[in-house]
Every structure is written in C-alpha cells, then in structure tokens.
C-alpha cells in the first residue's frame, strides 16, 4: 500500500464525531400517518382552522402520489406508517435567558461546538435553535423587532402573522410540487419564518440549527423567507444529527420570496448522520428548496456544504422571474462509505437579462455515489439570459462513483448557456509537486482538497466557513487537518 493510499484510507475511515443522543424528555405521538394524526399535530400546535385544512388537503394529495424514482439513488422502501410525525421537547417553556434553558440542551450545543452564548457574542448571530421540532430559543428577536424584521418559529408566525403565512406559504413550493413536498405540507412540525420589511438591510446573519433528536422521528421542517423591496438578508442553516441505527426521514421545504432589489443569501452546512461504515443507518434527506426572484433586480444565492446523510435528494432552485434578477448556486457535496447524494439545482429563466451561476464540487470516497443533477431552462421571454455552470467531481478511491446529469433547455436565441464538467482524481503529479516542495503527502491532499472546494467555501459567511471546514474535516480528516 502506498503512502497515498494509506492516507486516503485514514481520511476516509473517520468516524462521525457528533454521534451522541441527548436525553431530553420528549413528547411524541403514536407512529403512523392518517388524517387523525394530522389533526392531532395541528391541534397540538394550536393551529387555526385554515392551517389544519391546508395540511389535510396536502395529505389527500400526497396519498395519490408515489415516490419519485428518477434520481440516481438506491432508496430502500420507506414505511411511512412506521414513523412518528411529531416530537417536541417536553419542557416547552419560553425562556428569557440562557440560564433557564435545560442544561443538557446547552451541553448538546456545546458539544457541537456552537454554544449559544458564544454565538450571541460572535458577530451578532441570532440563533433560532430548533431541537427536534419546536423552537426552543430565539435570540436577538428584540433587536430584530426594532427594525420591523420578523424572525420567529413557523408556528409562532402562524399564530401572530397569519396573513403573511397565508399569502406566501406554498406560493413557491406548492403542496402539489412533489411527493416529499406534499408530505411536508401535511405533517410539517415547525421551522423558521423570516420577514424583512421594505428598505431594511438585516444587520446580522440569521441562523438556525436543526437537530434531529428523538429516535424514529421524521423531521419535517418548513422555512419561509420573505424579503420585501430593497432588502438584504443572509440566512444560515446548519445541522448535525446524533448517531442512530434506524434510518430517519427528513423532508424539509424552504421557500424564499425576493421582491424588487432584494437579495437573499441562503447558506447551509448539512451534516446529518451518514450511517456507519457498512452503510447501516443514516438520515434520508429529501429536501425541496426553491426561491423566486419576483421583483426586478433581485438576487437569490444558495450555498451548501453537504457532508452528511445516507441519502441526499436536494435541488435548491431559483425561479428568475423579475428582469435582471440573479440566481446563484454554490455547492460542495462530500460522500463517503455508502452515502449517496443526488443534488444540484434548477435555474428557470423567465425575465429579461436574468443571470445564473452554478458551481458544484463533488467529492466521493469509499463506496459512495455522488451525482450532480441540474436544469437550466431559458423560456421564450427571457431575452439575453446568461448561464454558466461548472460541475467538477473529485474521486478518492476506486469503488466510488461520480456522475453529472445536466439538463439545458434553451428556448431563446439571445440566451447564452454554458456548461462544463470534469471528473478526475488527485493527480500523482500534483502530490509529487507538493512533496518536492517539502509538503508531505497528507498535507498535500489537504491542500488540494481545500483548494478544490475553496471556490464554494469562500461564498459562506465568515462565521459559517469555520464550521463548514470543521465538517469537511470530519469526512476527510487527516487531510484537512
């Protein structure tokens, strides 16, 4: 075995570090899914009638659908009746200060390396920490409220801002969109809601941490971000999930609405439990994320670092409806062992002079399969639309696969659409070059992988980039150092 192989093995054999299960009492409802369960969820969350109705409508539609099978994924059969659809920490109190929060919960976050206190101090990040499904703590809410920004849990928004929720929920991802969107619309437990009023530039990065905690609980988050005219907001989503044997289902929806001159930046670091080395366990991550650039000159930017989950099925998309609107997608997806990822984006150009950029970096190791799947569609009216896509894949090991499935559909002669992709492994000549300059093989691999992902990591907000690098390090430790 050569040095390089040894190091690659070390790198790819690393265990999942955040695998622990905090013992917080949770309240759950029986397994299974039917109209009664949905009514029960709705009742537990003290929702108004229209919300219950909307859930039931989605559920009825979901029953007529089948799971999509077009992705390059091997998905074991999922028994949707064997899942608990609601779990909430029992001590559901509204805390005023951190002292009142369950110490074990604080400890959980501490072990994740994202202590609330520190977060509070650090560059003014407001954290809406979601522990399982109920929003436990929302910080900085007061500061934001002064500016008229609404940043709260989704259930609070349903209670306090029903008009906004009714107007925008489902306007970007309707419940009829796909199988998992319908499921989420029926059973979503909680999530985040964010509203930026006209002319406001959000002074801090908004952030939420999702965490799956109770065994056997599918987590169904729902996020809605509305940016009115002339606004800016940067939103961070990050997640780590504890070690677990059974597969868990995660089907989230994220909707973004950007009005005229608004800019929304959505960053994700995803590190759900990927399953063990034999491919046992792990999270199924089926997410529908979509943003609409409704007004002219608006911009939506997706940045994601995907290191976890046994199966990832995720396509953050932009509908570029307003003239001169911009869509961006930056992604690093790392798969190891038996992980499978089928991820990418959709850019739908509707307005004139719309532009989109897609940068996707896939890294596969072990026996994993990593696919990029993206669609760029230019409609007839989208004059002078411009797209550039670049999808690179890096293979570490000879048992893994890297695939690229771009779709380019162009209906307008003034459009310029470009796609390019490469697949390669770390070249021996590259390593040799580094060795020659006194960098050992381990550091050389680290250097190359870092450089490879840099284009995307650079797009992450500062506070997040640190964590993203940490998470990359877990999958590729020994190389990233």
């Amino acid at each position: 075995m050569t040095d390089q192989e040894k190091i690659l093995n070390e790198v790819t054999d690393n265990d999942y570090k955040f695998g622990f299960h905090s013992k917080i009492e949770t309240e759950t409802i029986p397994k299974g899914l039917n109209e009664d369960v949905i009514r029960l969820i709705s009742a537990k969350k003290e929702e108004p009638g229209w919300m219950t109705e909307s859930r039931l409508k989605a559920f009825r539609h979901w029953q007529t659908m089948t799971m999509p099978d077009w992705a390059h994924l091997q998905i074991p059969d999922i028994d949707y009746q064997d899942i608990i659809y609601y779990a909430a920490p029992k001590k559901e109190a509204k805390y005023q200060s951190l002292d009142e929060v369950d110490p074990e919960l604080i400890d959980t976050f501490n072990r994740l390396g994202i202590p609330l206190e520190e977060q509070k101090q650090l560059a003014g990040v407001a954290v809406d920490a979601v522990m399982d499904s109920v929003s436990v703590k929302t910080t900085f809410q007061d500061t934001l409220a002064e500016l008229g920004i609404i940043f709260c849990s989704f259930s609070e928004a349903v209670k306090n801002h029903p008009d906004l929720v009714q107007k925008y929920m489902g306007s970007v991802v309707p419940y009829t969109d796909n199988f998992f969107a319908a499921l989420n619309s029926a059973v979503f437990s909680d999530g985040s809601f964010c509203y930026i009023p006209k002319g406001i530039r959000c002074p801090m990065e908004l952030s939420t941490y999702f965490r799956i905690n109770t065994a056997n609980t599918g987590q169904f988050e729902r996020t809605l971000i509305i940016a009115e005219d002339d606004t800016y907001v940067s939103y961070l989503e990050g997640c780590t999930a504890p070690m677990r044997d059974e597969n868990q289902l995660h089907a989230a929806i994220v909707e973004i609405v950007a009005m005229e001159n608004a800019e929304v930046k959505y960053s994700t670091v995803q590190n759900w439990y990927p399953g063990d080395k034999a491919g046992k366990g792990g999270i199924y991550n089926f997410v529908t994320k979509r943003g609409i650039c409704k007004g002219d000159n608006s911009k939506i930017s997706w940045t994601q670092v995907e290191t976890g989950s046994a199966i990832t099925w995720k396509y953050p998309s932009c509908i570029l409806k307003g003239h001169n609107s911009v869509g961006e997608f930056y992604s690093v997806a790392v798969t190891n062992n038996y992980q499978q990822a089928d991820t990418g984006t959709k850019m739908i150009h509707i307005g004139k002079n719309t532009r989109s950029t897609i940068i996707s970096k896939g890294i596969s190791a072990g026996r994993s399969q990593n696919s990029y799947r993206g669609l760029v569609r230019v409609l007839k009216g989208a004059e002078y639309a411009r797209n550039f896509s670049q999808c690179d894949s890096l293979l570490l090991g000879d048992k893994c696969g890297a695939h690229t499935f771009p779709y380019l559909e162009v209906d307008n002669r003034t459009a310029i659409v470009e796609h390019e992709a490469t697949t390669s492994k770390i070249g021996e000549d590259q390593i040799f070059y580094c060795n020659q300059r006194g960098i050992d093989t381990e550091n050389a691999i680290s250097l190359i992988v870092n450089g490879y992902a840099k284009e995307v990591l650079n797009k992450l907000p500062m506070e997040f980039a640190v964590e993203a690098q940490k998470l990359l390090a877990i999958t590729l430790e020994g190389s990233v150092g």
Binding site: W70, H72, V378, K380, S393, L395, L396, G397, D398, K399, C400, G401, A402, H403, T404, F405, P406, Y407, L408, E409, V410, D411, N412, R413, T414, A415, I416, V417, E418, H419, E420, A421, T422, T423, S424, K425
Partner: protein, 458 residues
C-alpha cells in the same frame, strides 16, 4: 356487451402486424433468424413504444409517428426505377464500392446479391449473407445491439428484411471505401426497417459511408439498425449523411463494439429530414481502444433532430472524444443526450464530450443533456455544452471589413461547422460534405442537390 370497436394501442398494432404476417416476414429465414425475430417481438411486447415522458425520449415522441398509416413490404416490391437518373448523388472523385439499398432491400439489378472480393472481403445484401454464410452472420447478428434494451432495435429485429453486410477478414486493408446509399422511393407512404452488419476482423481498416435519401415525396418512416464489430487493432471510419426530405421520419440505431486497441470514428451529419432520432452506442470492450464521435446538424423550418449517444468505457486505457454541433433556424428543435459511462475497472480512461449549439431565431429550441457516469477513479473526463448565438463582436469585425452581415453570418456558421467537418478523414468526401453544408447554410440545398424531384419545395 358493448359493440364498439376496440381501438388498438400503437404497440398492439405492431404486434398484430407481426403476428398476422409472421410467415411472410420470416419467409426463407434460417432458424436462428426466426428465433431472433421472435425474441425481438417478445421484448418489444414487453417494452412497447417509449412513453411520452420516458426520460430517454423526452424530447422526441415517436409513438404518434409510428401510429400513422404506412405500408410495409414484407418482401421486395417491384418499383419502376431508372438506374441512370438515380444516382448523381455520388461523391466526385470518390472511388468507392457503391451499394444501393432501396426501401430497405439491397438493390442489385442483374448482379449478384453478394460480392466476394479477391482478398476475402464479403460485401452485399444481408439476406443473401444469412443464406450463404449463416455461421459468420449468426456469430454477430443480434449480439451487438441487445434486443431487450431499446424498443426500436427490438422492432427492427422482428421486421427487418435486408440491409448491407460487410465482412473484412483478418489483416485486410480495404483500398476503397464502401458507400451505401439508402433510397426511399414509393408510390405511397412507406415504412422501412433495414439492418446493416459490419464485421471487421483483426488488423483491418475499412471506411463506410452511408447516405440516406428520399426519391419520392411520400411520407417515409425508417427504423434502421447497424451493428458494427471492430476487431483488435482494426480501424473503422463510419460516416452517415442524412439528407431525406422534410416529410420523413428516421430512427437510426448504431451499435458499435470495439475490441482491444481498435479505433473507430463515427460521424453523423444531418441536413434534412423532418424528425430524426439517432441512437449511437459505442462500447469499448477491449483495452486501449479509442473512438471519436462527430455530429453535425443544420436544421430549419419545423425539423427536429435528436441525438442520443452512449459511450461505454468497459476496459482500462480507452479514450473517447465526442463533438456534436448543431445550428437551428426557424422553428426547428434539437436535442442532444450524451452519456459517458465509465465502468469500475476502466482505469486510465480519457473521455471528452462537447456539444455546441447555435440558435438563429427565437422560435428555435435546443435541449441538451451531456452526462457523465463514472465508477472508476483514475480517469480524466470532461464535458461541456453551450447554447448561444453567433458572436456579435465577430460579426461586427467582419462587417467593419466590408463584408455584408448576411455573408458574415454565413462565414461564421461555416467556421462553426468546420470544427466537425475538418475531422472527416477522406479528403474528397470532406470537400463534398463541406460543399453540401455550405449550400445548406445558404439555403440552396433543397433536399438533395442533384435530385430532380424537389419534392419539398411547395
């Protein structure tokens, strides 16, 4: 019971057509061909026509076309046909073995149906080859294009009557290219299934040119299959020129199997045809094989061209280089779906794929899906795809030098096409095709330059 007449699905229609004419279709076939036909129809029964939303046929829905009224000849039909005015459509200065296939049947008035040349080369009609060399044919026929993967191959296997057979024995270098001219001439709407089989043994070279033409203004539907086996160290240059009239539909299936250190160049140039679907499947089975795939289409009006290619790297050290280009005018639509598949053991693979398209109008539409599916790590693979228009700066530059805008556009399009055309190896053929492409771009080529019919001018 209701007394309404049950409408048959298109698939059922074809199953019915086969079953009621089974005897006639397989008339005179040896058992192995009869077996193949049965296998073909059975797998066709299983798959049926690709569904409306089937991923591989997303942009080309062929079932309605096949549902149309077409007559089908189960045995060669006599058609009034004058050999002299027939083919002016040859390539000047090209000395070739010219073989004419009329409505899917090898046309050999007064000559033998199968020629055996001095150096052991066998070339001629497939039907005759099946009769005279059953062992040679059965070793390859139906083995390269799998019956159960592609509905149109299954259908062709069941129905095909004839086609061209070419056999190049070990060590033979062919001195002249083989030119196959597929002609469609009928007095009614006609459907044709024909099948070619080219076998190149070890250390051989051969060049095959296939030209597709229509000679009467009727609607034609062609479903052809070409199976190609390229032996060790063999070199094949295969070029297809599609120039049927704009009222015809063509489905071609080309399956190429390459052995160790072989080389194959496949070119496909589409000038006319109303609906064209080209399926190309290259499988490099032997180590160190290399292949090059070229494609060019120039379409206008309501034409539709869909290229589907799969390049399979099944062994280590193989290289492939693919370049497909398209120019779309008026309300034409195009599709490209290219897949590079690298098997787990195919280390040291180098695979490149590029697809460039130019849209000249707002009504033209292009869909492209270049795909990489890679299961080995020590590879260099890349693909690129672009859809755009002529470079405004370049146009301006030419105009500023006193060249009219129209002429500048033609020059740029010509240059765009040259990328592909310059790779055609045979010089006289390259000149001829460059000339045809130039005329096509100027709109002077109505269908087939030398044909007197001008059937699509109305």
């Amino acid at each position: 019971m209701k007394d309404t007449i049950e409408t048959l699905t298109t698939t059922a229609k074809y199953l019915e057509l086969f079953r009621t004419n089974r005897e006639q279709i397989g008339d005179g076939d040896p058992d192995f061909v009869k077996d193949l036909r049965e296998q073909g129809i059975r797998s066709f029964e299983k798959t049926g026509f690709p569904a409306r939303k089937a991923e591989l046929y997303k942009h080309t829905h062929l079932e309605p076309v096949f549902d149309g009224e077409f007559s089908f000849d189960f045995s060669p039909r006599k058609i009034a046909f004058d050999d002299n005015d027939l083919f002016l459509c040859d390539v000047p200065m090209l000395d070739a073995h010219v073989l004419t296939v009329l409505n899917g049947v090898f046309h050999h008035p007064g000559k033998s149906a199968l020629h055996e040349l001095d150096n052991g080369i066998i070339v001629g009609g497939l039907r005759e080859a099946i009769r005279r060399y059953p062992d040679l044919v059965s070793a390859h026929l139906g083995k390269i294009a799998p019956l159960d993967k592609e509905a149109f191959v299954s259908l062709n296997t069941a129905f095909a009557q004839d086609g061209i057979f070419l056999y190049v024995p070990e060590g033979v270098q062919m001195d002249k290219p083989v030119q196959i001219i597929h002609l469609l001439l009928s007095d009614k709407n006609q459907m044709v299934h024909h099948r070619n089989l080219f076998v190149l043994e070890k250390n051989t070279t051969a060049q095959v040119i296939i030209c597709d033409h229509t000679l009467s203004p009727h609607m034609f539907l062609t479903n052809s299959v070409s199976e190609v086996s390229v032996g060790e160290h063999a070199d094949l240059d295969l070029l297809r020129l599609q120039n049927e009239h704009n009222n015809s539909c063509q489905v071609t299936n080309t399956w190429i199997r390459q052995e160790r250190a072989s080389h194959c160049q496949h070119g496909n140039i589409t000038l006319h045809g109303s609906m064209v679907r080209n399926n190309l499947h290259v499988k490099m089975e032997g180590e160190g094989a290399s292949s090059r795939e070229l494609g060019l289409f120039l379409i206008d009006k309501l034409q539709h061209v869909d290229s589907y290619t799969v390049i399979e790297h099944a062994s280590p050290n193989c290289t492939s280089d693919q370049h497909y280009k398209g120019v779309l005018d008026d309300a034409s639509t195009g599709a490209f779906h290219g897949r590079i598949h690298v098997h787990p053991n195919a280390q040291k693979t180098e695979a490149f794929q590029a697809n460039n398209n130019i849209l000249l109008t707002d009504t033209a539409r292009m869909n492209t899906k270049p795909q990489l599916e890679i299961y080995a790590d020590d590879v260099k693979c890349s693909h690129g795809a672009t859809v755009g228009q002529l470079d405004e700066d370049a146009l301006f530059y030419l105009q500023s030098r006193g060249i009219s805008r129209d002429e500048s556009r033609l020059m740029l399009m010509d240059a765009f096409a040259q990328d592909v055309l310059s790779k055609i190896k045979q010089p006289s053929l390259r000149d001829r095709i460059t000339d045809l492409v130039g005329k096509r771009l100027r709109g002077e080529l109505s269908r087939c330059n030398n044909c007197a019919m001008h059937c699509d001018e109305e």
